[in-house]
């Protein structure tokens, strides 16, 4: 007789499939159409987005493939089996920092956007603090619980995006999409980089694959999950460009929220849909944030085995809050976002390349 299978440190590959897009979709969607359209003409940015999407799906698959090679083994332990121990600790720490920085960034953006669209009088320090406290509450729970949260909130996210698309289809003007293919490769490059960065969120795979009960299918499921995110992004990008036109979309701070502003639900019950959109979007950003904070704690726990998870959370959280409050204005926040994406991207690429080479080399040595 098998034992009751709800062990709290195990998840299923199905949960990975949902968690991947749920982590990826976050703050970056709000400004995605701007990132795409400002350097390009017409809907050419969408092409860059598609290419970036394919690239990211492949990358996700690779990352998961790498992690699957070491089933039920945590990141630090398989890292130190491939590369020297100090290097492994350094990379684990880099991921921890990445997680903490992302948490700080997301908290800051939540506060900014909430101030812009929900409140006018409430100081954003308070908004950020309450959000961070809820995130900490989530992370203090079980890891399996976090994945269950992803499962619970993801349907809302898909639903709100579909509503957004459905009810703005009246604004969609095909003329706005043209001209096509007039942007040179040099201008496509920033759009490509920007979209790649907006898909950042596959780093947690390196850590959480070790928790999966039957990890064999994780790369496939993660790739499927990522394609869900890519599809949703494409839809949003096409809709925003179609509705606003290239120029307008490129000059709005958060074009996706502006798109939500134009939603008109028949019956006139929701006067301002963007508030509802944003309120639901808090769940999305929350999902991203818990995963990154937990990844940071998870990584640090592997290094400092003596310190308990709760202690780590309590030590880190003041720093997260302060880091989030540092940027002075929107440009600073954007710069921080770009920096974090670049940093995370570099670390992941480096790890993947390094590990595959190390693995090849070790195998070669054995033979």
């Amino acid at each position: 007789m098998k034992t009751f299978e709800y062990a709290d440190d195990q998840i299923s590959d199905k949960e990975i499939m949902i968690a991947t897009p749920s982590v990826v979709i976050g703050v970056s969607v709000l400004s995605l159409p701007r990132t795409l359209t400002s350097p390009t003409n017409g809907m050419d940015g969408v092409i860059a987005l598609g290419v970036a999407g394919l690239f990211v799906i492949a990358l996700t698959w690779l990352v998961a493939k790498l992690a699957v090679q070491f089933p039920h083994e945590n990141f630090y332990s398989y890292a130190s089996s491939l590369i020297p121990k100090p290097a492994a600790s350094m990379f684990t720490m880099l991921f921890a920092v990445y997680g903490l920085l992302t948490t700080a960034y997301e908290t800051r953006v939540i506060a900014d956007v909430a101030e812009q669209y929900l409140f006018t009088r409430t100081p954003f320090g308070v908004i950020a603090l309450t959000f961070l406290l809820v995130v900490i509450y989530a992370v203090s729970g079980s890891r399996a619980g976090l994945f269950r949260l992803h499962m619970m909130f993801f349907p809302f996210i898909v639903l709100i995006i579909l509503t957004l698309v459905l009810f703005t289809s009246g604004l969609f003007d095909p003329d706005n999409l043209f001209p096509v293919l007039t942007t040179g490769a040099g201008n496509q490059w920033p759009a490509f980089i920007g979209s790649t960065f907006s898909f950042m969120g596959f780093a947690p795979l390196l850590f959480y694959t070790s928790l999966v009960k039957k990890p064999r299918n994780v790369p496939k499921k993660a790739a499927i999950g990522m394609s869900i995110a890519v599809t949703l992004y494409m839809v949003i990008a096409v809709m925003s460009i179609g509705a606003f036109g290239n120029l307008t979309a490129g000059n709005l701070q958060y074009p996706t929220v502006e798109l939500a502003k134009d939603v008109e639900i028949p019956g006139g019950f929701f006067e301002r849909f963007e508030t509802v959109f944003f309120v639901i979007w808090i769940m999305t950003i929350f999902n991203t944030t818990i995963m990154f904070l937990d990844m940071a704690v998870f990584a640090m726990n592997q290094l400092f085995t003596k310190i308990s998870k709760m202690q780590l959370i309590f030590i880190c959280s003041p720093f997260i809050y302060m880091a989030g409050m540092i940027p002075k204005n929107n440009e600073d926040v954007d710069a921080l976002g770009t920096f974090i994406s670049m940093y995370g991207f570099t670390v992941v690429i480096l790890i993947v390349a390094l590990f595959f080479i190390a693995r090849k080399w070790k195998r070669g040595k054995k033979q």
């Binding site: 007789m1 034992t3 009751f4 299978e5 709800y6 299923s12 199905k14 949960e15 909430a114 929900l118 409140f119 409430t122 908004i127 309450t130 959000f131 809820v134 509450y137 989530a138 729970g141 079980s142 399996a144 619980g145 976090l146 994945f147 269950r148 949260l149 992803h150 499962m151 619970m152 909130f153 006139g268 019950f269 929701f270 006067e271 301002r272 508030t275 509802v276 309120v279 639901i280 808090i282 769940m283 929350f286 709760m310």
Partner: protein, 517 residues
């Protein structure tokens, strides 16, 4: 540790049942001495009946002892006393007292449930639980006849869970009757009843019911383990047991369901759940339960599936309103009036004209009054209960609006919330929803919609970490068991539901074999 240990489940030690006075003494061979000890122990209550008599030509001295009112007197008279006296006249009795006792046990009395007791503890427990005891002089043993026969309530329609269509019988305070009510629903030989004794002093019987071969064995084991830790003087209601064995005592959500309906218990048993029945209460506990179970009523299954599904949707809507409506009102009126359609916003503003309080205070006043009315209505005698409805609902509501203390729209909001909360079939769930509503209102008054969504997220965090006897409370939503979604928000036709809930991990997965039929 400190605060941390508060959140962990307290380590329970096995109970040490130590009665204050040691009555473990063995019986003596002398009748008078035995009777005297018994009298001293109970301090001669006036409902203790001792009927001495002598038997046969050798004049064996005997005594029947029982507590008046706990036993069936007719049975004692007809099947013990009459028999014994009759046979003593008719036939030769053995001279040896031990042989006589055996003879009485095997031949002379016409009682089904007879056993021998040796210690005073054993005898006193039997005596106080509706047995008659027969002492024979010269033997250090006594016979115990189980003749429970006290007054009890007839089987009636359950008061707390009324259905339009469905069986009308409900559990009563008598454990034995309750067990039979379940047996009448399930005639499976694998239906198990395991008896425990709860309470140091009350020594109440508690019966755990499940179907072997359906339920996952770990659930039985876990429930057993937890029940064994119970250390109470008395458990007057199954709520005591519930609170003792639940997974998290900090949670507002009920982690064990309670019901008065045998049909509901039977259905749950067939889904691989376990039921806990306590003597003296009609409320039977059912575990494990999940979030979805709170919004299900047996009637969903008794009506046709379309109706059942419609009712479920209605109830989910009701649960949403019960939790969110007042907080949404607060958030929209005081923080985001722009979200309300212009015309409605104007009419709300117009009705709020002259109301001296901000929306949050207004909502709290009304919600508090509503809770007060409900509580008063529940406590009052039934005949006056309706008065509260009229005085509270009509007079106060109308007068408050007339006096300009609250706006009419607020009265509507509170009334709709109250009605919506009563649409939730489980009373315990209703209470927890109402409790959570205050959390939402508080958050809405400080942080508006943002606060509402944060509290909603927090409740979700709580739910995904909560368990009921080891089963995640959020299943089958997450961890997802898509097959179980057929009977969650939807209630699909009975022919489509061929499996027991997957989240229960039952041993016997199929509830119906499609191939056979």
């Amino acid at each position: 540790m400190g605060l941390g240990s508060l959140f962990k489940r307290k380590d329970k030690q096995p109970s040490k049942q130590e009665p204050t006075i040691e009555f473990d003494a063995e019986l003596k061979a002398n009748l008078d001495q035995n009777l005297e000890t018994l009298e001293i122990m109970l301090e001669k209550p006036n409902d203790l009946v001792i009927r001495p008599f002598s038997l046969g030509s050798q004049d064996h001295r005997c005594a029947v002892v029982y507590i008046d009112g706990l036993v069936d007197k007719q049975e004692i008279n007809n099947n013990i006393l009459k028999n014994l006296q009759y046979y003593a006249e008719e036939q030769e009795l053995p001279t040896n007292s031990h042989a006589l006792l055996d003879e009485i046990e095997s031949d002379l009395v016409s009682i089904g449930d007879v056993s021998k007791g040796k210690t005073l503890d054993e005898l006193s427990f039997a005596l106080l639980y509706g047995s008659a005891i027969l002492y024979v002089d010269g033997v250090d043993q006594a016979l115990m006849f189980d003749l429970k026969g006290w007054e009890m309530r007839a089987i009636e329609e359950p008061v707390t869970e009324s259905l339009i269509r469905g069986p009308r019988e409900g559990f009563i305070e008598n454990l034995r009757t309750n067990m039979i009510l379940i047996r009448r629903h399930i005639r499976d030989p694998n239906l198990r009843f395991k008896t425990y004794q709860i309470g140091r002093r009350s020594k109440k019987n508690l019966v755990v019911t499940y179907i072997e071969g359906v339920i996952h064995p770990d659930i039985v084991k876990e429930v057993n383990r937890r029940l064994k830790t119970i250390d109470l003087d008395d458990a007057p209601e199954s709520g005591y047991v519930e609170e003792w064995i639940e997974d998290s005592f900090l949670s507002p959500f009920p982690q064990l369901a309670n019901t008065e309906r045998p049909d509901r218990v039977a259905t749950s048993l067939l889904q691989g759940k376990i039921a806990i029945m306590l003597d003296g209460t009609p409320f039977v506990l059912v575990a494990p339960v999940t979030l979805g179970n709170m919004l299900q009523s047996p009637e969903d299954y008794y009506e046709r599936w379309l109706i059942g599904t419609f009712l479920r949707f209605l109830r989910y809507g009701g649960a949403f309103l019960a939790m969110f409506l007042p907080s949404l009102y607060i958030a929209l009126v005081s923080y985001n009036p722009g979200l309300i359609p212009a015309k409605l916003a104007f009419s709300i503003a117009a009705t709020r004209e002259g109301v001296p309080f901000p929306a949050a205070i207004e909502a709290f006043i009304m919600a508090f009054t509503m809770e007060l009315l409900r509580e008063a209505g529940a406590r009052l005698p039934k005949t006056i209960g309706q008065t509260i409805g009229i005085v509270g609902g009509l007079v106060i509501g109308d007068a408050a609006v007339q006096a300009g203390i609250v706006s009419p729209i607020m009265v509507i909001v509170v009334a709709v919330t109250a009605i919506a909360s009563f649409a939730i079939p489980s009373y315990s769930a209703t209470i927890s929803f109402r409790l959570i509503r205050f959390g939402f209102m508080l958050a809405a008054s400080f942080l508006g919609l943002y606060g509402v969504i944060l509290v909603y997220i927090m409740i979700n965090i709580h739910i995904v970490n909560l368990k009921s006897i080891g089963v995640p409370y959020s299943s089958p939503f997450a961890p997802s068991f898509f097959h179980d979604w057929k009977d969650l928000v939807l209630r699909t036709p009975v022919t489509m539901r061929t499996r027991r809930p997957a989240y229960m991990q039952t041993v016997d997965k199929k509830s119906r074999n499609k191939e056979k039929s």
